[in-house]
Amino acid sequence: MKAAPTHAAAAAEFLKDSERSHWHDETLWHVRSKRDVSAQKIPEWEQLRTLASQIKDHVLSNLDNLLLQFEKKAQANGIEVLWAKDAQEHNEHVLRILEENQVKQLVKSKSILTEECGLNHFLEDKGYDVVDTDLGERIIQFNKQVPSHIVMPAIHLKKKEIGDIFHEHLGTDAGADDPKYLTEAARQHLRQKFIQAHAAITGVNFGIAETGGFVVCTNEGNADMGTHLADIHIACMGIEKLIPRAADLGVYLRLLARSATGQSITNYTSHFHRPRKGKKMYLILVDNGRTKQLGREDFRNSLKCIRCGACMNTCPIYRRSSGFSYNSTVPGPIGSILSPGMDLNKHSTLPFASTLCGSCSDVCPVKINIHEQLYKWRQVITKEGPPQVSKRWAMRFGGQVMSKPRLFELMGKMARKSLSISPRGFVYNSFNAWGKHRELPEVPKETFKDWYRKNRNHDK
């Protein structure tokens, strides 16, 4: 299989436009800062995080039973529940529902799961026009892109670029980039689509085992607009999105929006329990690699994710390389621990796209040990991923030197000597990635060991 572009290469490309990368960094840092201000106002913030993490522990340990309970309740409420073992099966379920109900027009609110399953492409190939109704998603749909962020899918685009896209697709005035004006244009455009739609597809933020109901959080109310107008509601849900009781919901709702954007709650938090009279509601429960991840002791915690995006906003690498550099549906730190589980070869560079600074783990509202899992994926990848001969050789050699004190001193001496006598061009060349933009440390006259032998008379 051909190797995917490495994260490093994609990041270097993005950074070439330093003005844009700087703007991207500042924009997301601003969101992270809003999160801080908002979280600070909750005295029990850290307790909430712990609780949220523990509830998810419970869910992951009892997923089988909770899912069955959820299914039973949902069915009793009149929801048709379908199971999908993978993306293909999920997409086929959706197609079958559309065909059975002779749906011609459909709208879709934001769902990263349907991105993961490639639903839009699948349906477009079958002749359907899928209209994304989340403003950000509609913008990138016009622009033929995928989301670069799971909460703010068009965050990589500047106002002016959005103005240009709207000019091309919606006929807004050329050069107009006033957000109010553009939003109004989008509203008019989408309103038509809402009215025409026979089916509405939504994601699911939380499924509640106890009640068989589910919750969808949006800021634009587009999920509600879609589902209230259409006869058919298809909700697509990853099986890990479950929580045990309605009473647990508050814990997550308090954390979700604050972590995501600093809002105290999403503008719309919609609870769905049963279809309205004469209408239909479907719920597709998708595995697509999740039970596999559940079986990986070191990585199962990644399934606690509530997709708030905070780890992206805080990540100094994500902020400077943008979501596309990850080449995976879920980018950023959480994507880097989820994606290798889906395709180790394709995503083998992602766990290395981190300094292991740990900011992601500390910001995560469900306390996923993201940076520790990045470290663990590295150990897996060097064993099972694509071979990296020279890196492996260097590390093995380094390991040998470091285990033999005399050899270490000798190698150190040689390196120091050659560094101090070599002409610059010898040291700073294209093989020396360190030295492209950085000086190497100056070579001191003596090492600490030399000094210690001279100045402290211990014989140890």
């Binding site: 490093a8 990041a11 270097a12 950074l15 990368s21 960094d25 979280a39 600070q40 909750i42 913030w45 850290e46 805080t314 100094p316 690498i317 400077r320 290395f352 300094t355 292991l356 600074c357 740990g358 900011s359 500390d362 470290y375 590295r378 150990q379 060097t382 492996r392 590390m395 093995r396 380094g398 390991g399 040998q400 030197v401 470091m402 285990s403 004190p405 270490f408 150190g412 120091r416 990635a433 360190w434 492209k436 933009h437 950085r438 000086e439 190497l440 440390p441 100056e442 070579v443 001191p444 003596e446 090492t447 600490f448 060991k449 000094w451 210690y452 032998r453 402290r456 211990h458 140890k460």
Partner: protein
Amino acid sequence: MKVGLFIPCYVEQFYPKAAIATLELLEKAGVEVAYPLKQTCCGQPMANSGYEVFGQGASDLFRENFAEFDYVVCPSGSCTLHAKEHILSNKEGEPKLYELCEFMTDVLQVKELKSRFPYKVGLHASCHGLRGLGLARPSELMVPDFNKPLHLLEMVEDIDLVHLARKDECCGFGGTFAVFEEAISVQMGKDRIQDHQEQGVAVITGADMSCLMHLEGLLRRDKSPIKVMHIAEILNGQEPDK
């Protein structure tokens, strides 16, 4: 109390002044310190690159070198964290491992320092020490504020400590990350430096020489007058290089 000094490999080779300052600081505090000469490295470079196995020899050597001590003190948050997580498990009978600042505040409970440093200083919070060892409150966590390295620096006479716009953003060193993700590593370093520069610092300090080595590399290439110094050097009252 028998204290063994662990000096990270690159500090031993390239930054002996930081090591000497660490030793002298501990000696001034009345601690009996020894430096086992057979030490090399904690094995972190191999492990963080995904080759934990090749770091095994270094780990074994580390354990051997320090078996006889009550405490091991190391002037690097990152190496301390790695050794804590992968070499010494803080079991009964094993030496207890501390990063220099936490050893001074938590074990020695240092209350005053006889040193002076009349310069504008920016403190770089290295991530592994910050979040891994808990040297300070990371900005993400909503817990009461504390900062051990800052607490020590505040004891230095005439020091002028600045406030940064992003007080604990990573500098982009990250071990082999600095090489394999060169472009982004460099950008992160430059951004960090700019924050310090905007506050007009003369010196950037921190508890991890590796981050400082990365920042120094950028500063020197840029011919910037800003110097980097390990926190031990400042606490020990050393002057910056001219």
